[in-house]
């Protein structure tokens, strides 16, 4: 007895099919409620699980964002403190440089003023006084003579004396005036000196005023960061992103420089350590060249730290000044030695390259022509070999910026990824939930004749038994926003249970 025979309930296949359809619909109708419940439960499980996961992810994202903000603020505060400190250092240096000599300037100005005062007094215009007997003579000279020759002679003599005396007085006056003018002339350099001193003081004061304005600006920023305002956070975030991009670009350039540097010294290093030994899959000479470059970078890093340009190693920054100066001298000396070594290696490279070229020409059977005898390429390579280590030393500056900004940038990136992940989880949860509803509806659509009959029989087409829409559409009470505390999470879990 085959399955086909079993399915044939009657002689007529069409009737058999119809009977089977009716039976099938009836079975589906009776299984409708359990199926609805099972499907809705399943979709709710998916929905709640994914939304709960999304809530956890959002919570993590929130914590990460908060942490990022704290890090950003701390970095901002540190930077602002550094800027203020630097400005105060500059003010201190300015005050020391310009106003340290102020007492001296003050004394000089006082001396100049005293001298000017003395000169002024000396140059006072005192009218010359005639001798005491001049009025008497003047009176006698005014007497009218009667024609007596003797009297006339006497009067003439008196008149002449008087005139002589006047002339002498005028001469004296002129001399006196000339000497006063000379004194006034001598006063000019003193005036200029005084003006110069005052200008210098004025410049110093203006400079200090400028610095104080800058300090005020930085202090404002500092205050804003301390108050943890959104504006400060935005500004710091933008600044961090910019720093990240710029520092990354400069680091890429530095990597390019390092590669050129490496190529300059890799070949000659094989003369020193041999060209046939390997460390792992790499030639020992290549590793040695790389190590030299890395040591140079490290020395540059230490030098920048010792100069307090960067702050990657707090232990170096915290050293006392004497020790720091020793560090500066040592690191700079090592860097200079390494630069010298590189320069020598660059020279050696040029020699080896020339030798190889000559050998190749010999092997090719060609005459040795066209070999460069100019010293320019050699000198150029040597100069490059000497300069590049010092140039690479400055990598410490962008490296610090990169490291400090990458923390916040990467934090922001991870937070963004978490947000996206949470969104996807919620989306999937919703899709799962509505997919359940969709399947339920499709199920009902498939058995619509049975439902229609039920409506006719019961007379209540709108009712769906005890299975209400509210029950179907009931959403999870799970909150969508981030859950902060463990207690809240527990509450939600209990509620779900």
């Amino acid at each position: 007895m085959t399955v086909a025979n079993m399915l044939n309930l009657t002689a007529s296949p069409a009737l058999s099919i119809l009977i089977w359809i009716v039976l099938f619909l009836a079975a589906l109708y009776f299984a409708r409620r359990p199926f609805h419940r099972a499907m809705m439960s399943f979709s709710k499980i998916i929905y709640n699980a994914l939304r709960f996961t999304a809530a956890s992810v959002l919570s993590a994202e929130k914590r990460l964002t908060q942490r990022n903000r704290e890090v950003l603020m701390t970095a901002g505060l540190e930077n602002a403190e550094r800027m203020v400190e630097r400005e105060f250092d500059r003010i201190g240096a300015s005050v020391t440089r310009d106003l340290e000599g102020y007492p001296n300037v003050h004394r000089q100005v006082s001396e100049v003023i005293t001298k000017l005062d003395e000169d002024y007094n000396e140059s006072a215009d005192v009218p010359p006084s005639l001798p005491n007997w001049m009025p008497i003579i003047e009176s006698i000279a005014k007497i009218k003579h009667t024609g007596d020759s003797m009297v006339a002679n006497m009067l003439a003599e008196i008149n002449r004396s008087l005139n002589d005396q006047h002339k002498k007085a005028i001469e004296d006056y002129r001399n006196s005036t000339a000497s006063r003018h000379a004194i006034l002339n001598k006063m000019m350099p003193f005036w200029r000196k005084l003006e110069k001193s005052l200008t210098s003081i004025s410049k110093s004061i203006t400079n200090i005023k400028k610095r104080s304005k800058t300090v005020d600006h930085y202090m404002d920023e500092y205050e804003q960061i301390r108050s943890k305002s959104d504006r400060a956070a935005r500004a710091l975030s933008t600044s961090s992103l910019t720093q990240f991009a710029i520092a990354g670009l400069v680091l890429l350039i530095a990597i390019g420089g390092a590669i050129i540097n490496f190529n300059l010294i890799a070949l000659p290093m094989s003369e020193m350590v041999g060209g046939a030994s390997y460390i792992g899959p790499y030639k020992t000479s290549d590793v040695a060249g790389l190590v030299i470059i890395l040591v140079e970078l490290t020395m540059g890093l230490f030098l920048m730290e010792s100069l307090r340009i960067t702050r990657l190693f707090p232990i170096i920054g915290a050293m006392d000044d004497k020790m720091r100066r020793h560090m500066i001298v040592i690191t700079f000396t090592l860097l200079a030695i390494l630069a010298g070594v590189e320069s020598a290696l660059a020279f050696m490279r040029d020699r080896i390259a020339l030798d190889m070229q000559a050998l190749r020409q010999t092997l090719a059977g060609a005459e040795q022509i066209g070999l460069s005898t100019s010293m320019i390429p050699t000198v150029g390579q040597m100069v490059m070999g000497f300069i590049l280590p010092f140039a690479l030393a400055f990598v410490a500056i962008p490296l610090e910026s990169f490291v400090s900004s990458s923390r916040t940038v990467l934090g922001g990136l991870v937070a963004w990824l978490l947000r996206i992940f949470a969104f996807l989880l919620r989306l999937l949860g919703n899709i799962g939930f509505y997919a359940g509803r969709f399947i339920v509806n499709i199920y009902d659509l498939a058995i619509f004749p049975a439902i229609w009959l039920e409506g006719i029989i019961l007379g209540t087409r709108g009712k769906k038994g005890a299975f209400s829409d509210a029950e179907i559409l009931e959403d999870s009470p799970l909150v969508e926003e981030a859950v902060d505390s463990f207690d809240k999470t527990l509450q939600i879990k209990e509620h779900q249970e």
């Binding site: 060209g275 390997y278 792992g280 050998l359 010999t362």
Partner: protein, 215 residues
């Protein structure tokens, strides 16, 4: 301080541990057929050797031996060298090597028989002793072996990790009449090499010498 020393020792061990003991050098043994009419082809061999000298790096090994009546002998090695690790010294060694080969080519005399198998056996022995990482046996010959009476060369080759490359395999008069002879000859050597675990190759166009090390 003790910690520092412990750390230093661990670092040293790590560095020593990382040092690769596997040889990465290349060893090339070139066999030059000096028999009969093929001796006139030796100028081409010089070009091949010059190419090899240009390509081989410090630390590599190169030997040139002739194929004559009995080639399984150190006496048949015309010139051999293991290049120094330092490039400048290696360059000077290459110049000297070139001079030695030039001298040999200008004074070589043809041999009545061609013992290629003996030459290959000698090459295997030499390159195994040299300890090269990559081993190449270059056979500059028409691959027509003619052994003198009494010489036995029915020994299977042991050629694992060897590359055997035939260079400038010229066609003989009989090959032109019946090319099957040529094909059979080449096939015979190929099977001998591959049975010994080696890789077989053939380069007739000397413009494609760079295929020696790339294949």
């Amino acid at each position: 301080m003790k910690k520092f020393f412990a750390l230093a020792i661990v670092l040293c061990i790590l560095i020593v541990g990382c040092t690769d003991t596997k040889s990465r050098s290349t060893g090339v043994y070139m066999l030059l057929d000096t028999s009969g009419t093929y001796a006139v082809e030796l100028e081409k061999a010089q070009k091949i050797l010059n190419y090899l000298l240009g390509v081989l790096a410090p630390g590599d090994t190169l030997a040139v031996a002739r194929i004559d009546t009995g080639s399984f002998s150190e006496k048949d090695i015309v010139a051999k060298i293991s290049f120094d690790d330092r490039p400048s010294v290696a360059n000077n060694q290459k110049r000297l090597f070139m001079q030695q080969v030039d001298k040999f080519v200008s004074s070589v005399k043809g041999s009545p028989y061609t013992d290629i198998s003996g030459g290959i056996l000698q090459a295997i022995e030499y390159l195994n002793e040299a300890g090269s990482g990559k081993k190449y046996v270059l056979i500059f010959s028409d691959l027509k072996e003619e052994l003198a009476k009494g010489y036995k060369r029915d020994i299977p080759f042991q050629l694992p990790a060897f590359n055997v490359i035939a260079l400038n395999v010229t066609k003989l008069r009989g090959d032109n009449i019946d090319p099957k002879e040529y094909m059979a000859r080449v096939e015979d050597w190929r099977s001998k090499v591959e049975k010994g675990g080696g890789e077989w190759g053939m380069i007739n166009d000397l413009e494609r010498l760079n295929n020696i090390f790339t294949n």
